[in-house]
């Protein structure tokens, strides 16, 4: 087993991986950019090294700096987390060439699945259905138009090298095609260093269902059931659950078999996720395979009882798979939601800032994977994901009620977050009924605005807090003496001075 694992990531996932390392008796090592010197993922590490300036290109995407840090800190393996270099085959190869173990699949498997067009061809040859798509635009704008017409609008533009919504655009008419294509290309180039795009047939109200795979180095492979991630905004998941809200045993069997076939087609090892689009008619198509740990892995951990990060480390160390497919029966239901620094009332624009107050929910069946802390500045340079709240219940409705209560308990003050919006989704009758699809938010919550139902109570709380706090803390010792309730000399409200 490894002695020291370098975690080539930041935020909540780096904190989560560090925990798994500690539980296995392995020392977690952190890397950080100049913007992350005091970030939570640095605080939980045994040792840490600075790998460059704030810009992720110069730090968390800087392969040489990360390998140098691994050597300096004495790592014998590297866990890439998700995002950044997690699906970069060159990185996986360089880690191996440096005599270290990459905790993930082989560089060849990453490369095969990382090129979305190549991946489609490979899994299609293995008998897995794929979404109708066109990927050759050698003829420039004319070829693009022909391709779009051939598929029929609406079409979806996707980045050949990417995922996570970056470089993705839905195009509903030929008039929008050129602009969308150019913008998606720029975004793909900035995010992945590869501007290549492809066009895909776009389905109405599909569901996003993915299958968790775990494979060892000795040709053994199991699936850990499915996750449904249909609740998305900006093509990014915000609520995920396992099992899927509604899925027949027959379709589940076909999906999981297809997922294993897709993974086997690239001789996959370690943890991975095969994503499918499931149409209203019950057809399903391979979308892509994520050759890494998934953001939403906690819901699978809840219902399967398998610690996926520990499992990744163990199979990377060469341990034969200890799980038996027949014994892997999901227990209960889990739902996760992503807490973002973003403003749902302003098209979900990122809203980084200072966390003035943080209260995380607690209780049975409640888990918080957090990358933030009180009195912490959320950097503007990275993804606005702050934390993930996941809950478990004996059935979906129990889990949903628990999620709502936990979200109401969650307090992140100082910047806009999506917490109130997540409550609105969880409370929606369509979500309660399991009528989930990827257009859920645009269909049910378009134009959502935060409520003002408790505005009077908030005003009352602020007013009495000001006087109570002024009474307990001498103004000279008040750290943030900016409150007008405290700084205006002997001024008191309502005294008619």
């Amino acid at each position: 087993m490894f002695k020291r694992i370098l975690i080539a990531n930041r935020g909540e996932i780096a904190v989560r991986i560090a925990r798994a390392c500690r539980e296995l008796g392995i020392a977690p090592l952190a890397v950080y950019s100049e913007a992350d010197r005091v970030a939570p993922h640095v605080r939980v590490a045994e040792r840490a090294a600075c790998i460059g300036p704030a810009s992720s290109r110069e730090s968390y995407l800087n392969i040489d700096a990360i390998l140098e840090a691994a050597r300096t800190l004495g790592a014998d393996a590297i866990h890439p987390g998700y995002g950044f270099l997690a699906e970069n085959a060159d990185f996986a190869r360089a880690v191996g060439a440096g005599g270290l173990t990459f905790i993930g699949p082989s560089a060849d498997a990453i490369a095969a699945m990382g090129d979305k067009t190549k991946a489609r061809a490979i899994v299609s040859a293995a008998g897995v259905p794929v979404v109708p798509a066109v990927e050759d635009f050698a003829g420039g704008a004319t070829a693009l138009r022909t391709a779009a017409a051939q598929l029929g609008f609406p079409v979806l533009i996707k980045a050949a090298a990417g995922g996570g919504g970056k470089g993705m655009r839905i195009v509903r008419s030929a008039a929008e095609l050129d602009d969308a294509f150019a913008a998606a290309g720029r975004e793909a180039a900035a995010a992945f260093g590869d501007p290549r795009l492809y066009l895909e047939r776009y389905f109405d109200r599909p569901r996003h269902i993915e299958v968790q795979i775990l494979a060892d180095r000795h040709n053994a492979i199991v699936h850990l059931g499915e996750r449904e991630c249909s609740i998305q905004r900006r093509y990014q998941k915000i609520i995920e659950e396992s099992p899927a809200a509604i899925l027949s045993p027959a379709l589940r069997a076909r999906l999981t078999a297809a997922a294993i076939a897709a993974a086997r087609s690239v001789a996959y090892e370690n943890a991975g996720t095969v994503e499918f689009l499931v149409t209203q008619a019950g057809e399903f198509f391979f979308l892509e395979m994520n050759t890494r740990l998934q953001v939403e892995h906690p819901v699978t951990e809840w219902v399967s009882g398998v610690d996926l990060v520990q499992a990744q480390i163990r199979v990377a160390a060469g341990e034969p798979l200890w799980l038996d497919q027949a014994a892997l029966t999901p227990r209960g239901h889990a739902i996760e939601c992503r807490i973002y620094a973003e403003d749902p009332a302003q098209q979900f624009l990122p809203s980084p800032g200072h966390i003035a107050l943080l209260r995380e929910p607690q209780g049975p069946g409640v888990r918080v994977d957090s990358g933030i802390a009180a009195d912490y500045d959320v950097p503007v340079h990275y993804d606005p994901l702050l934390a993930k709240l996941s809950v478990w219940g004996a059935d979906r409705e129990t889990a949903r009620q628990r999620l709502i209560v936990a979200l109401r308990e969650y307090a992140v003050l100082g910047m806009p977050t999506n917490i109130a919006f997540l409550i609105a989704v969880a409370e929606h009758p369509a979500f309660a009924a399991g009528d989930t699809h990827t257009h859920f938010i645009s269909e049910h919550l378009q134009g959502w605005r935060p409520s003002s139902r408790h505005a009077d109570l908030a005003a009352v709380a602020a007013a009495v807090h000001a006087l109570l706090a002024a009474g307990t803390a001498p103004s000279a010792a008040t750290p943030k003496a900016a409150s007008p309730w405290q700084t205006l000399g002997g001024w008191r409200l309502g005294r008619g001075r």
């Binding site: 720029r186 624009l349 990122p350 003035a356 969650y410 007013a463």
Partner: protein, 170 residues
């Protein structure tokens, strides 16, 4: 004396009178409420209003109050007390083309003097790895452009000034 605050789009006035150590009369927009209140820790108050107890996180940052209630975050921003309601509404009515978040100007799509229609792109801002298209909300003439491609901007930075068809300037 009372103070004026804004919560979202709403402007309200607030006055407090302390009757006893833990008893207050708080008037919101002139309507008084009797409140029993205790400070549990420096950023938590327990208040009892109409017999119902609420334990609420409250934090003050530079004169602005943030209160969390059942998963919702309320922000009370102080307003200058001298301004009249009319002045306030006129200030709020003028749309401003400011950076909605810190980020990098990727591309400026307009020039001074140019006519734009509602929904036309003014510039593209990149923040947190995503591109955001900033658009005109109404037909207008571009009066001035204050940023250039490649420039980093803070939230609230004025990016573009527009002159709307009705003569108002952003």
């Amino acid at each position: 004396m009372q103070r004026a605050y804004r919560i979202g789009a709403r402007r309200l006035t607030l006055a407090v009178q302390r009757a006893a150590a833990d008893r207050f009369t708080v008037s919101v927009d002139g309507t008084p409420t009797e409140v029993e209140a205790t400070l549990i820790d420096p950023s938590t108050v327990r208040i009892i209003v109409d017999g119902v107890a609420h334990t609420l996180p409250v934090v003050g940052v530079a004169g602005t109050y943030h209160v969390a209630i059942a998963g919702e975050a309320y922000v009370l921003t102080p307003e200058a007390t001298g301004a009249t309601a009319a002045e306030h509404s006129s200030v709020l009515a003028v749309p401003q083309i400011v950076a909605p978040m810190p980020g990098k100007v990727l591309q400026v799509l307009v020039q001074p003097g140019q006519q734009v229609a509602a929904g036309d792109g003014l510039l593209i801002l990149e923040a947190m790895k995503m591109e955001h298209r900033i658009v005109a909300e109404a037909p207008a003439t571009v009066h001035a452009v204050h940023v250039e491609a490649g420039q980093m901007v803070d939230a609230g930075t004025v990016l573009v000034e527009l002159e709307y068809k009705d003569g108002t300037r952003s």
